[in-house]
């Protein structure tokens, strides 16, 4: 029960903090809009279906953007604030402290998702008729949570890198590219697809699209949730070893 409380309070606290940051909130909404705008210009020559495909894809790009950059630097930020040692020394498991941070980051992406869909509707006339509203309402939070869990795995994996933010930044484009946001996976060489299948955003994107356009979204939602759970499990397993290593070498604050 205390674990759930810690997760909930941590999520609310960090969501409020991120919402107050212009970098995470304002830029989190505006930055993916630039890429969405370019995509809309490129796809508008095609069928209305192509434009809807781009609109849904661009809307999920923002969720990943909000997570990858911020999650990469999450521990570094605590290090700058001088709170990393306190969090590691706290009696609560470090995973319960970090997970709400990255979940809050991915939740911020909902602003970007809404803004992108609205931008597409108002500026490019892309009307979004959702075939399965209930499945859509299930697919979106599952995708957000899974991406947040992926961010958690990134954050704890980068605990010993002082420049983790640069690695987090680096992951923004590759995931946009190979998770089927704007490019069908069939266009990529065969060896890329297994990598895509290991990434929760791929399944989240498929689930949202299937729910919106009218398909069987449940299997994709299940895959997305399953991968998210796997990321969390791996994160929990590695965080102890990484923290022990950082403590043993006295590199937690210096790295």
């Amino acid at each position: 029960m205390s674990a759930v409380r810690l997760l909930a309070i941590g999520w609310v606290l960090h969501f409020k903090m991120l919402s107050r940051s212009s970098f995470n909130s304002v830029l989190g909404v505006v930055y993916p809009l630039f890429f969405a705008t370019v995509a809309f210009f490129l796809f508008r020559e095609g069928s209305p279906h192509a434009l809807l495909y781009a609109s849904l894809g661009a809307s999920v790009m923002g969720i990943w953007s909000a997570t990858s950059t911020a999650a990469g630097g999450a521990l570094q930020r605590e290090r700058w604030h001088g709170t990393l040692e306190l969090l590691v020394a706290a009696p609560a498991h470090f995973s319960l402290v970090m997970l709400p941070v990255t979940l809050a980051m991915s939740t911020i992406g909902i602003y970007s998702m809404a803004a992108t869909l609205l931008w597409g509707r108002l500026v490019f006339g892309i009307s979004l008729h959702i075939a399965h509203p209930l499945l859509f309402c299930l697919a979106v939070p599952v995708t957000i949570v899974s991406i947040g869990m992926c961010g958690f795995l990134l954050a704890v994996s980068f605990v010993r890198y002082r420049t983790a933010w640069a690695l987090g930044n680096l992951l923004e484009y590759p995931v946009w590219l190979i998770c089927g946001f704007l490019v069908p996976l069939s266009l990529f060489p065969g060896w890329v697809r297994p990598i895509s299948w290991l990434l929760a955003p791929t399944w989240g994107m498929r689930a949202i699209r299937e729910a919106a356009i009218g398909g069987s979204a449940l299997p994709d939602i299940g895959m997305c949730a399953g991968l998210g759970a796997a990321y969390t499990l791996i994160g929990v397993l590695v965080v102890g070893r990484l923290l022990h290593s950082a403590r043993a070498r006295a590199t937690l604050s210096l790295t």
Partner: protein
């Protein structure tokens, strides 16, 4: 002589001290790998949408990526100093502002040229585009002019850093505007008229067009006007940036906001 020392030595020291980009952990992912993925992203989006050629996206994005080092680095001349608590000392010195700030732009231009040239070479090789050997030297010159022009815009951003605390947010927005407006991925003829009109006043627009024409085999002489326009726009932004720096420095002193903006 002092001015020349501030320009060259001060610029180099500032670059090394402020940005920490000489660390391979930052330099490689930010300037060498990320532009390749930006190129691949738009090449594949272009293939998916079935519009322009691969060469169009490779050249557009390789040149546009110089905006990252050029704009972010220049604005860090203010934001970085403030973060390190040295802005007050810098501005209290009697050093001439022209060599002080323009000196910092020289290594930044070099960085932008390297990032763009690498992205163009590596991205082009991965995607498999052909650029005539006779055009390579001309394209290199276009990259230099475009990087200088972008750095001038960065000088404006640096000046605004005297009044705006969130320079990272500002710079990302500038980067995004350049991505949308400058014909990087969407030809200017496909953009609404008002957008292509505004694009004429941005750095990158003419440089990218010149590089594309050169890559398609046109002569250097035929793109001389475009290169001249890119250089002129860069000079205008440099002048504007310098004047803004002086004005906002004076205002920052008067309002005591240099450290708190």
């Amino acid at each position: 002589m002092t001015g020349a020392r501030i320009f060259f030595v001060g610029g180099l020291m500032s670059y090394r001290a402020l940005f920490g980009w000489l660390s391979p952990w930052i330099f490689i992912p930010t300037f060498l790998v990320a532009p390749i993925f930006q190129i691949l992203l738009f090449v594949y989006i272009g293939r998916s949408a079935g519009v322009e050629s691969d060469k169009f996206y490779v050249i557009g994005n390789a040149l546009q990526y110089c905006a990252i080092p050029c704009i972010f680095a220049m604005s860090n001349t203010i934001a970085g100093e403030r973060y390190q608590k040295t802005l007050g000392y810098i501005l209290a010195t009697p050093a001439g502002r022209l060599p002080l700030f323009l000196g910092r732009s020289l290594p930044v231009i070099g960085n932008g040229v390297f990032a763009s040239a690498f992205a163009l070479s590596a991205g082009g090789a991965i995607v498999g585009i052909h650029v005539p050997a006779s055009s390579i030297a001309s394209i290199a010159l276009v990259i230099v002019v475009t990087s200088a022009s972008c750095t001038s815009l960065g000088l404006v951003s640096a000046a605004l850093g005297l009044r705006v605390r969130e320079t990272a947010t500002l710079n990302n927005i500038v980067f995004g505007l350049l991505l949308v407006f400058c014909g990087v991925n969407v030809p200017l003829s496909e953009l609404p008229g008002w957008m292509s009109f505004i694009a004429q006043g941005f750095p990158l627009t003419h440089g990218i067009e010149a590089a594309r024409r050169l890559a398609n085999g046109q002569s250097f002489g035929s793109v001389g006007g475009l290169i001249g326009a890119e250089a002129l726009i860069g000079a205008a932004y440099a002048l504007l940036g310098y004047q803004l720096l002086r004005l906002l420095e004076w205002q920052g002193r008067r309002l005591a906001t240099l450290e708190t903006a």
